[in-house]
């Protein structure tokens, strides 16, 4: 049966068909839907872990116990999980273990553009790289055979265009592998120096064997066409190459990013006049070719940054470039914004008004950096806000302690904010930490986390009490505010910044997009009262605009949060409902 399926859903289907039994992941665009789709199969136990390192170690535990396991993450998540990955390379696996990692060339929803293939090379772990949904499904299954056949974890590398594109896949039945027996094998699984040193030669030998496998496996394939140009390519770049050149060039399509074949590449190179490597981001295949002594073109013409497309390939490599037209007017950009009714807005307005230095973190609230709020000074990686405020305050002392805050979401706090908070409690800086608790993991599309009280299926689960947790770490000043209440936010912020000890403010209100959140009637503006002072425009609400000197509310967007109302000095806002 053929189905049109999202790349990430195809990976989930591949897990199902391969008999995978345990999935533990942390959400991250563009990887999230793999786990959201996997949970739809009752045969697979799925969970959201607090972070990627935990997820990978859960999956490892399940593999060790004898069941096929999986974890998914985005490219930067693999940095968090790099610690277990590098040593799992040494231990190998019991039942098959596959790690899905999704890169984000073009940075559609990421803070950097790193190339995960580097992790595969560095950790000496095989990596498969599908170029559409059919391959995503096929490679997910193949990954388990490789994992068990070569005693290794296997990386399955997605990218935004493969993860978030739908294409046709062929479905088959689930295979039910028997649970592998668990044997105590101290020399294989206890990685103390005396054991690990004996595993390292195994890893090197495994790479040699995998390279041999890669020479003849159908995962790497030659498509001979015209022989003036031969292109070595992989992933979505392969699709752009075929789109532009069809059969007019010869193509070596690599489905395995690590290890790369040697003989296969040499043979291909010998059959074409000019050799070109087309790969997004880093020159990994290209450097491999150069190390083999081949003359090859690649990053001398193609960019290291951003996504490729058919026009880019055509322009750089001599195909037909399609041109468009435009009107003369400048088209104003439409950057993403905090939604109408977003609970983060009131809090960020308060930070902006108080001219705070704001050390930020990863989530929807990073949009607090955007005009007119502009209330963010730094965003680095998950959890960095809390660790960095401590360093910032240690460096600048009392002068910064009185005006600097760290802001971090509930899910990000659970991911890696707790350890930074422990450092503040232990090494004692007078820092003010604000946890933006919107009761969900927002940016990636509403995933539960350890503070929400629900699991991935929406069933009741353990619930971590943020206030109790902070108090247990030794914070005496822990308080909760409602970010819709601007006065309360302002008072709490001023008091905690002035306090002579570290404090935690929990800004608590559920995300306005959550289905269970009941919205108030939208507001409207009394045109007779409005004086057009634009005070309400300071919060950057997409529902409010000023037309002909008067504020106006878009009733289709407004959820009646009332934050704008609190800024109006002439009481011009009124509820549509109250007025009938």
């Amino acid at each position: 049966m053929k189905e049109l399926m999202l790349g990430n859903a195809a990976v989930a289907r591949g897990l199902y068909e391969a008999g995978c039994s345990v999935v533990s992941s942390y959400p991250g665009t563009p990887s999230t839907e793999i786990t959201e789709e996997a949970v739809k199969f009752p045969e697979i136990y799925c969970e959201w872990a607090p972070n990627e390192k935990v997820a990978m170690e859960v999956a490892f535990g399940a593999s060790l116990a004898g069941k096929r396991a999986f974890c998914a993450m985005k490219h930067v998540g693999l940095n968090v999980a790099a610690d277990p990955l590098f040593t799992m390379s040494y231990t190998g696996v019991n039942a098959g273990l596959v790690i899905g990692v999704a890169d984000d060339a073009g940075m559609h929803s990421s803070q950097n553009e790193q190339d995960s293939r580097r992790h595969a090379v560095a950790a000496k772990v095989p990596m498969l790289e599908p170029s559409d949904s059919a391959e995503a499904l096929e490679f997910a299954k193949l990954a388990y055979d490789l994992s068990e056949g070569f005693d290794t974890p296997v990386l399955l590398k997605m990218c935004t265009r493969v993860a978030h594109s739908q294409s046709l896949v062929e479905l088959t039945e689930r295979e039910e592998p028997e649970m592998k027996p668990y044997e105590k094998r101290i020399a294989k699984y206890v990685m103390m120096p005396g054991n690990a040193i004996k595993r390292h030669p195994f890893v090197e030998e495994r790479t040699r064997k995998l390279r041999e496998w890669a020479e003849t496996s159908s995962v790497n394939r030659v498509e001979m066409g015209g022989t003036d140009v031969g292109i070595i390519t992989s992933s979505t770049s392969y699709q752009y190459v075929k789109e532009v050149f069809g059969d007019s060039v010869s193509v070596l399509k690599l489905g395995m990013a690590n290890p790369l074949p040697v003989k296969l590449i040499r043979d291909f190179a010998s059959k074409v006049k000019r050799l070109v490597v087309v790969e997004e981001l880093d020159p990994i295949i290209e450097d491999h070719c150069k190390a083999l002594g081949l003359t090859v073109s690649g990053k001398d013409v193609l960019p290291l940054e951003g996504e490729f497309s058919q026009n880019l390939i055509a322009e750089k490599l001599g195909g037909t470039v399609h041109k468009g037209r435009a009107i003369e007017d400048a088209i104003p950009p439409r950057p993403p914004v905090m939604c109408a009714g977003c609970p983060h807005r009131g809090l960020f307005y308060t930070l902006s008004k108080n001219k705070c230095t704001v050390l930020g973190d990863i989530g929807c609230y990073t949009l607090g950096a955007v005009a007119p709020l502009g209330a963010m000074d730094m965003t680095l990686c998950m959890g960095a806000s809390i660790s960095a405020i401590h360093g910032f305050n240690k460096a600048r002392g009392a002068e910064s302690e009185g005006k600097t805050v760290a802001v971090i979401g509930d899910s990000t706090f659970m991911h890696s904010g707790m350890t930074g908070l422990a450092n503040i409690a232990y090494n004692q800086s007078n820092s003010t930490v604000i946890i933006l608790d919107n009761s969900i993991t927002g940016m990636t599309g509403h995933q539960q986390n350890p503070t929400t009280g629900y699991n991935i299926k929406g069933d009741p689960a353990g619930k971590i009490d943020l206030e109790a947790l902070c108090r247990a770490m030794g914070f005496r000043r822990v308080r909760v505010v409602d970010p819709y209440d601007l006065q309360a936010c302002d008072a709490a912020l001023k008091e905690e910044l002035a306090a002579e000890e570290a404090s935690v403010i929990i800004s608590r209100r559920p995300c306005a997009l959550l289905k269970y959140v009941k919205h108030e009637a939208p507001l409207e503006v009394d045109g007779d009262k409005c004086v057009g002072c634009r005070s309400c425009m300071k919060i950057g609400c997409p529902a409010i605009s000023v037309k002909l000197g008067k504020a106006r509310v878009d009733a289709t967007l407004c959820v009646g949060c009332g934050v704008c109302e609190q800024l109006c000095r002439v009481d011009a806002f009124r509820s549509v409902k109250k007025e009938g």
């Binding site: 559409d132 993403p336 605009s545």
Partner: protein
């Protein structure tokens, strides 16, 4: 046949994912190879979003590039203008006349250009503009703009009405089906 390209553009949260699902289903049922490329994550938060739908005998690239779109279906006027350069020389735009101010316009840092439909037509583009929001509200919900647009788009396709109806039935939740069928009909007849 040569691969055909449809772009669906709009503002994050306007419902372009359902429109692309519907098209994907419809075209697959016709026996075509299909690729649909979507945007998830941060851009969805009120930003400019685009979905690519490509179909033909064999589709390679999941994206559509400048000068390649046979159709641009737009939920919002400024977004139609933003993506105009992606239209083929003889391509067709189907757009709602709804205007949503982006943040730079709201803050006064930029102006929303006037007369966009005429200006787009002046470049030689074929523009079919209609008030899809009003039609959607007439059908019963402002959220049905996506299906009004699909109804309008169906004008330009040589496909039987039953094929569109089958895809609507397959892709729309049952409790919203009647509403969306009304929205489709209103878009088609407008």
């Amino acid at each position: 046949m040569e691969t055909k390209n449809i772009m669906i553009v709009g503002v994050g949260g306007q419902g372009s994912l359902l429109a692309s699902k519907l098209l994907g289903h419809l075209l697959m049922e016709q026996g075509y190879d299909v690729k649909v490329s979507e945007v998830h994550g941060m851009s969805q938060r009120g930003g400019s979003v685009v979905t690519y739908v490509r179909y033909g005998e064999k589709v390679h690239s999941p994206v559509i590039d400048e000068g390649e779109a046979d159709y641009i279906v737009s939920f919002e006027l400024l977004e139609a203008a933003r993506w105009l350069s992606y239209l083929k020389p003889d391509g067709q735009i189907v757009t709602s006349t709804q205007q949503i101010d982006p943040m730079p316009v709201i803050t006064g840092a930029a102006a929303y250009p006037e007369g966009l439909v005429e200006k787009m037509r002046a470049t030689g583009a074929k523009v079919d503009a209609l008030d899809c929001l009003a039609l959607a509200e007439r059908a019963g919900s402002s959220k049905a703009v996506n299906i009004v647009l699909m109804g309008r788009l169906s004008h330009y396709f040589d496909l039987p009405e039953e094929a569109w109806q089958r895809s609507l039935e397959a892709m729309v939740p049952r409790k919203f089906l009647e509403l969306n069928k009304r929205a489709f009909a209103l878009g088609k007849e407008a």
